[in-house]
């Protein structure tokens, strides 16, 4: 009885999770990570047809293509980064004063 009481206390307190809670958490995290896994495997597979759980042949061809000069992925990455930097900077420049005005001053 008293031992059971202690165990239940441990389940309720903020330190540590109970078994079912761990299960729910692991389930949720797996669901959040799961869709990213086939993407990674597909990127290194050469052939992967229907009933196979794992690819029947692997190859790094896709990755080689990404880093080759013909694909132009790397320059595209540079352009994307530039756009993202400019957009962030401009948003901050325009948004910061507006945020100050809305947050620090009372007006009608």
């Amino acid at each position: 009885m008293s031992k059971d009481g202690i165990k239940r206390q441990a389940g309720i307190s903020r330190d540590g999770l109970s078994g079912p809670t761990w299960f729910a958490l692991i389930l949720l995290i797996s669901w959040l990570v799961l869709p990213l896994i086939p993407l990674g495997i597909w990127s290194i597979s050469r052939s992967w047809f229907f009933p196979d759980i794992a690819p029947s042949a692997y190859s790094l061809r896709a990755w080689g293509y990404v880093f080759s000069t013909t694909s132009e992925v790397l320059p595209a990455l540079g352009v994307t980064t530039l756009i993202a930097l400019c957009a962030t900077l401009l948003s901050a420049i325009i948004g910061l004063p507006a945020g100050r005005a809305l947050g620090l001053y009372q007006f009608r």
């Binding site: 669901w31 959040l32 799961l34 869709p35 086939p38 993407l39 196979d52 759980i53 507006a98």
Partner: protein
Amino acid sequence: MLERWKIPLLLSPALLLIVGLFLGGLGLGLIGSLGYMPLLGREEINLDAYRNILTSENFYLSFLLTFYISFTSTIIASTLAVGAALILRRHFIGRSVINFLFQINLTVPHLVGAVGILYLFSQSGFFARLAYEFEIIAKPSDFPAMIYDPLAIGIILQYVWKEVPFIGMILLANMQTFGHDYEAAARSLGANRWQSFRFVLLPLLTPGLLAAALIVFAFTFGAYEIPALLGQSYPAALPVLAYQSFTDVDLNARPEALAMGMIIALLSAVMIFGYARLARRYVRS
């Protein structure tokens, strides 16, 4: 005197941007939707596009589908996010790793997530292969259709996948500012765990939760790429329908596309307004 000019000055860049880009675009769309396109030699103004849309069955089917997708995704994602936030705010071994994994898909674009969902749930996807391995199905078409299906399961799965961490992070940040004091007080006054959640923590979280849910709803209602990739072609989601008309080879379909854009904007505004009123009443009482 200085103070009087300070606020308009601070606000003007943001206002200029909003008025210029957002309202300007909206205004041009409105003019186009009325059939006024001088470049095509159409200078008369009429409501034909709106009449055509509002009398076609397609439009209503698409609206219902879009509303159903947004509503279901928002409800499921909000519920899961509340549960996740309740667990993640506690102290346990491996919390930092779990927290990292929880947030990992915030940086993944929607389209990439959609492809992942496609590989998992399509009829030749990972789960179909597992079902075949365990001899539950004999061929791909035996696997229930979850992509390009009438119930839009794939789309909803993708949105839930993407939005649970988003809402969850907002709730966690909220919870951190409240601390545990209110709940501790409730518990010491005899509330059980459920009561201290239902009558203390949940009311505190409600404003943040409603705001996050609103963002998710508005986004999913107007988003094009996920229904275009994972959805069936008839009835298509409203943004997909609008895009189809916009890129139609028949340029006469363009006013209809713009009119549909106007209607989507109006419907979103009406729903957000109604939701805000409801939420305010709920939060106050």
